[in-house]
Symmetry: C2
Subunit: 502 residues, 2 copies
């Protein structure tokens, strides 16, 4: 590689090291750090975040990027061009938002999260409302600094952060048709099966569950020589660096299979992190996830398309019987399969079945977009939320704790994040359909506990490319088709019919 | 505080954050990191070490320090003067050694450690010799850059790194008289008792030992809300930041009390870290350890003066019986007391009893000083080592693996480090004598498991001062006396007589 590009890659690498450190500080805080280390940890994280921002927004970087763009080795290779393009994108976004606004958003949301926690506890929306107003206003200013993309709206400037190239208008169109058809599915299948996980009410000691979950994670493909598996209050995945990807889960003795689905979800994220070419390209965009939606597609695919399939439960059944001896209430794998696919509208997003879940997301997208546009005032949020839940799920919201105060996202100042969950589900279903077409009998392999072919397909089609393509372009290349709601709808319809209508 | 000093403290704080990150990276590497994360971790550590060095040697810092020295708030307070003085010291030492030399030392020792490991394995000194020659030469150059202190020798420039204010000539004088008297003690008491720990040959499961060691650590005073206790190949303590001090130990089922003494040792280090005023002065010299010798004095005091006392074993005995049920071979606490104090010359430093241990250190000091002065050539090291072991311990060294290849220190490029171990023992004995004088019946309190009075005394006399005084001045203020070999000799003589001569 020519000199100018080498110098730029060195800058990417150093920012990458600082980001790895940030990832470790965060992981340690949630899993290992002693309680009284919290104040100092906050300072360490702020210091490292400042360092990353300083390096990424450094005025000299623009010239270095321009020189690298003219480097013959870059000009000759479209991958390297993408690498430089994406780094320029990061630089420009870092430069556009003034440090004072970044800091104000960070400080306000740090306080707002605490206010939200207390407000949710007491189901007291009024105390949180002024904070949410402030956060919407700060996000509006941030979006204005970033600038709406050509032909787009302000919301797109925020969405770009999480889902490059995606536009609110496109999300609206896809989510709109999804919404109507999901409502119809729920009308047909709600309560048709046993309630979610009921046949699976299983108790087992934490130690036994731990071994069981490690077994599942390893069989699915998680590389323990390049990762760890720990416990935290909220499960998460942290891709710290090449050879170092860490997942967590949480256990309760009563809810064996909730922990297992959480593990499958995080393993899906981790397989993506382990598949990115970080050793070859430390800190480079081509070794980073394409988007939050693509990241979520990997977790959902393993959790849902694989983990809620009949084939998976046929494979898992004897292992579960052996390793959770006596803990299982279900009679056979078929009962498990039905239990984990039952449709049952639920007020709480994170407790919802696969179908209901997406209606929660579609609503949150509509509401946060309306808030940002000023079409919905914060004071009207609870009533609007409750009306929508009645309309979409047929449920009465008894209090804001189980309504618009249930999620942490808005209190952390994240607007534009929610749609990536359902985008992830859409991508997952479309990838699953294409993988099935390419690989043939996936169910047969999975019933034998052979998951490597699917992982290999995802590695080649998704993981290895990093940020080379936009999410939608990556999807088009992997599946041969444009983003569409049909694969997800088809997948859900087929499964519900298969499980409950024969 | 006035403006200039505030600005300087902000610089100290940021360097402190970067050092905390380095400490966490190191701790995680030894305890948590997956195997395949090692190459990226080395890069992260190098990046952060570079950052610390850049900040500490920054040319603008000299002016900022000078301004702070003239700040009225500093002029009015001798503590703040010491804080600035010590930071200036760090800055000057960082500036004096060229980055190229720092890097060459780091790279050479990283390779030399691997060569040493292989050489020790095969007891093949010849393969390590050229690396040791190179490391001695690089250390000589480093010492020349740092400059010998007034009236001192080149070795002092290195010793200053670990033991500020200490001079080789003073060490030589104290170690010289220590050596003769320790040899006499060994002649009187060797093999007089049962061999080290023999009466304590105890087996217990790792899980049971883990609980037992946590119990001991907590009762002695380790604050678990501000710390962790894990397992690593080599036990160590890492003071990461305010409220976050982490210790490790290692367990084997056969050697219950080796793990316990290792725990007491690390707890001693940790109590010092937990007692430094890090929350009030993050990153400031006054919240840092006075020296390696003072640090070691804290670990040795809890391991030896406390942990090898009759009173401690009277307290521990019923707890050990209960928590290690059935594992103990000793009949009573008196047998334990004698077992852990038996004198038995040993070829290996880390397996040596309290008395023999110091002869190992005195020898290493003499040898490394002679190497640096060019009075001893690397090729003559094994023969000189072996002759000295014969002379001091009356033992024949069968191979270099159990001779001059046994320790890692020289291969990591550390010269000037070894004497701090025996300085730590000297400080510990002197502090113990003074604490006993000030507090009265320490043995009575310890026999009841009450260790707080001693900890409180150490907090006030040692921990709270950070780097305000040189080690010897700190010791003088804490004990009212100059550094002397007598307290250590008196302590050893008294105990050996008490245990074995009545």
């Amino acid at each position: 590689m020519g000199q100018p590009y080498d110098r730029l890659r060195a800058a990417m690498r150093e920012i990458g090291h600082a980001r790895s450190v940030l990832a470790l500080l965060g992981w340690d805080q949630e899993t290992m750090m002693p309680r009284r280390g919290a104040p100092a940890r906050a300072e360490q994280i702020a210091f490292m975040a400042r360092l990353v921002h300083e390096r990424l927004s450094h005025p000299a970087l623009a010239d270095r990027i321009a020189e690298a763009q003219a480097d013959p080795d870059v000009l000759a290779d479209s991958r390297e061009q993408a690498n430089v393009r994406e780094f320029l994108r990061d630089h420009e976004r870092a430069v556009r938002v003034p440090a004072a606004l970044v800091e104000e958003l960070a400080r306000t949301s740090a306080q707002a999260v605490e206010v939200w926690r207390a407000a949710r506890e007491r189901s007291d929306f009024a105390s949180f409302a002024p904070w949410l107003e402030r956060l919407v206003e700060l996000n509006r200013r941030r979006a204005e600094c970033l600038g709406a993309p050509e032909g787009g709206e302000l919301y797109d400037a925020l969405l770009e952060e999480y889902e490059p190239g995606m536009r609110a208008r496109e999300v609206e169109s896809i989510f709109g048709s999804l919404r109507e058809k999901l409502k119809a599915l729920i009308a047909s299948y709600a309560r048709s099966g046993s309630p979610q996980h009921a046949a699976l009410r299983a108790r087992a000691s934490i130690e036994r569950q731990r071994e069981f979950n490690r077994f599942v994670a390893e069989r699915v493909g998680f590389d323990f020589a390049a990762g760890r598996f720990d416990v935290s209050t909220h499960p998460f995945t942290e891709g710290i660096a090449a050879g170092d990807t860490r997942i967590t889960t949480r256990y309760t003795e009563e809810a064996v299979f909730e922990a297992m689905f959480s593990t499958l979800h995080e393993v899906g994220h981790a397989l993506y992190e382990q598949g990115l070419p970080k050793a070859e390209r430390p800190g480079e965009p081509l070794a980073q996830a394409a988007s939050l939606g693509i990241h979520e597609s990997q977790s959902r695919l393993w959790e849902n398309q694989v983990g809620r399939s009949r084939a998976f439960w046929r494979w898992l059944w004897p292992h579960a019987c052996e390793r959770l001896a006596g803990a299982l209430s279900a009679q056979d794998p078929e009962a498990c399969y039905r239990a984990v696919n039952a449709v049952q509208p639920n007020l709480i997003r994170v407790e919802s079945d696969e179908t209901t879940y997406n209606l929660h997301i579609v609503m949150r997208f509509d509401l946060e977009r309306a808030l940002l546009r000023g079409e919905l005032s914060v004071s009207d949020l609870p009533a609007t939320w409750n009306a929508r839940i009645r309309e979409d799920l047929g449920l009465q919201v008894p209090d804001d704790r189980r309504g618009c105060l249930q999620d942490i996202h808005w209190s952390t100042g994240s607007i534009g994040y929610f749609p990536t969950y359902t985008l992830g589900n859409l991508y997952a279903a479309q990838l699953w359909q294409a993988a099935g077409r390419d690989l043939g009998d996936l169910d047969g392999a999975h019933a034998r506990g052979e998951f490597f072919a699917l992982l290999q397909w995802l590695r080649e089609r998704v993981h290895l490319h990093g940020r080379r393509y936009t999410p939608v372009e990556l999807l088009r290349r992997a599946t041969g088709a444009a983003l569409s709601p049909e694969p997800l709808l088809g997948y859900l319809e087929h499964k519900l019919q298969d499980a409950f209508a024969r």
